[in-house]
Structure formats: structure tokens, C-alpha cells
Symmetry: C2
């Protein structure tokens, strides 16, 4: 790796540490950066550090935020009696993009996964229960992933929320819109059948 | 795009400007960066700016370098009478990785391409001729790409170098090592035939 000068080597090494960027694309990125106007490089470099330094977790829902309370929780037009529980901030963004959900969220920052040492106490689960005790919540929608870990987490949450005497629901599993049955796996087909609704 | 806080939006926008990084991967990268330890983010951010600020072109060959003269040109063990002309710094690195070349280089920073307005005067071509006049060079190896632009540039260079009374050669075109003839295009097969050598 001493084909490059020191500063390029360092840059390539740093870029290779990012997800989805191997040594080859790191090299390509580095050469691109070296040919960018210096002010553009400066704003790229600054945006990385600024974002990391400014970012914190919303006091209410643990979404990523620049402020103490995130834009969703801080919006009085949202229905604060409806809480959707998601695993990651990216899942929240996915639902926000639908434009069809007007409740608030709770971000767990993971799912129960004993294999890699993620226990319920590593998630923002206690904080959810405190929130349910503190606020006037009518329904908790569990939108964890449809994976083994996501389902296990959903079960755990449903148990606690029921104990608190609050309605708890799970987003539907089924055939994706636009999906041809032929290519859908058996488990999804089974879930779609089980979850059928009256027309 | 107002699903995120301002600092995340800015970061995603900056990352999307890099080659091979679309809005989706920019989002994934941004979330990863936000979860990285702050000191790692700091060194990533700094490496980008430092590389861009430190980098300059080698006085001799126009390779990227932290110093006035790059590591290849500054190496007295290299044969300075043998100059390989390449289009980009990445091409130089590709040949360095072979470990089989002990001459020096000359980086053109492009190839003649009138379609996108790259004229001979936009390349480090004049600098190559000045170098040939100034130094004691025995051979110029033209290693521009095997594309229309690369071949046109090679022709141009060969004309000038011959005028200067110096030997000029072109790297061979042919079947890639490990390549099955069946899958090689006609032009390459033709070149391989033309360039056949005695055994």
C-alpha cells in the first residue's frame, strides 16, 4: 500500500472502514476527493464532523435529532396517543416517507438478539414503558422487522404493553404490493393467508 | 427530505455528491457515521481535508504527492531514462502494483477527447516534451488506455517523441491472462494476432 503518498494512504484507509466501501471503491473515492474543489472538500469534511457532534437522541422517542426533541415529537399536529415502535431511526424514516402515519414513534435502537449479546436491557424498552406510564397512550403499533429477532422483540413488547392495559397491534405481514405470488416465499404466503381481511 | 434533522440532511447531501454513492447509500453511510465513536469520525473528517490540502502534483511526473517530488521520481534506484506515460494517477498505481516496472512515469491527467473538450493543451503533454528536452531519456512507453481516446493520445505522443529522436513504444494489446478466447471481443483477438511474438 505504499504506492500512494501518506495522506492518500490515510484517506483510503479511513474510507475503507465505512460500510459497503471496499479498498477499490475507497481508492476511487479518494482520487475523486483529491480532484474536487477545495471548498467542496471542506464542506464535505465539516458536514461529517458537524453531524456527528450535533446529533443526539430525542428525549421522547430516541430518534436522531439536532434538538432535545425531534421534529416528529415536537410537532403538535401529530397524534401523541399513538406510538409506533421501530428498531432503528432508518425505519422511522421509511414510515415517514409513506406520509400516511400521523402518530409518533419510539426507536428501540435494535432488536433482542442473544446470539450477538443484545438483551432487552440494551434496547430503549424501559424508556418505552416509562413513557406509557407517564403519557396518555391509546395504542402501541409494533413495527419491528419481520425477522426472528424482530418477532421476538414484538412478542416481548406486546406482553409488557398489555400488562400496562394499553392496546397493542402489529403491522401486517403479507405479499408486497406489486409482488407476484409465484416469487413470494412460503412463510410470507402463509402469513398473508392467516392475516386475510374481509372484503 | 425533511425526514431528518438539518445536520443529517446536510451530511446525506454531501455524501450523495460522491461517485457511486446514491441517496440510499448516502443515508446508510450517514447513519453509520452517526453511530461511530466521535474520535473515529474526527479522524475520518480530518483525513479528507488533510489529503486534499496536502496533495499536489509531483514537479517531475505530475503524480499525486505530498512532497514536491513523488516517491517514484525521488527514488534514485528507479531508471530515470525510461518514462511510462499514463492517463491518470490510478494507472500509475496499477503498474506499481505489478512490481515489474523500474522506470519512472509521466501522468497526462486525461486523454485527448474533443467530444468533451479535452484538447492536447489540457494535458501535461507540453511538460512531457520539456522533460524529454531537459533529461536524458532513452525510451518512452505509452501506456494510455486501450480506448479511442487513449489510442488517439498515444498516436499524438508517438509523433512528438519520434520528432525528438527518442524511442517510443506502446504496451501490448491482446488476450488478458486467464481469458478464454471464446469470450474475448473481435478487436482484441485481431490485435493479439497482429502483435504475435516468436516462441
Amino acid at each position: 500500500m505504499n504506492y500512494y503518498s501518506d495522506s492518500i494512504n490515510t484517506l483510503i484507509q479511513e474510507l475503507s472502514g465505512l460500510p459497503g466501501i471496499g479498498p477499490k471503491s475507497a481508492g476511487r473515492l479518494a482520487f475523486h476527493i483529491l480532484e474536487m474543489p477545495e471548498d467542496r472538500v471542506k464542506s464535505l469534511s465539516e458536514s461529517i464532523l458537524t453531524a456527528r457532534q450535533k446529533i443526539r437522541l430525542c428525549r421522547e422517542c430516541f430518534n436522531l435529532s439536532d434538538e432535545e426533541v425531534c421534529t416528529v415529537c415536537g410537532n403538535p399536529k401529530r397524534n401523541h396517543k399513538l406510538i409506533m415502535v421501530v428498531e432503528e431511526p432508518a425505519d422511522l424514516v421509511a414510515y415517514e416517507k409513506t406520509g400516511q402515519y400521523d402518530g409518533v414513534y419510539h426507536v428501540l435502537h435494535g432488536a433482542v438478539n442473544p446470539m450477538i449479546g443484545v438483551q432487552p436491557e440494551n434496547l430503549k424498552l424501559k424508556e418505552l414503558l416509562q413513557r406509557l406510564a407517564r403519557e396518555d397512550v391509546e395504542e402501541v403499533i409494533v413495527a419491528t422487522n419481520s425477522t426472528v429477532e424482530g418477532e421476538a422483540t414484538a412478542l416481548l413488547i406486546s406482553k409488557y404493553v398489555k400488562q400496562a392495559g394499553i392496546r397493542v397491534t402489529r403491522i401486517a405481514s403479507g405479499v408486497p404490493v406489486g409482488g407476484a405470488l409465484e416469487y413470494v416465499d412460503e412463510m410470507t404466503l402463509y402469513r398473508a393467508l392467516e392475516g386475510r381481511i374481509d372484503l
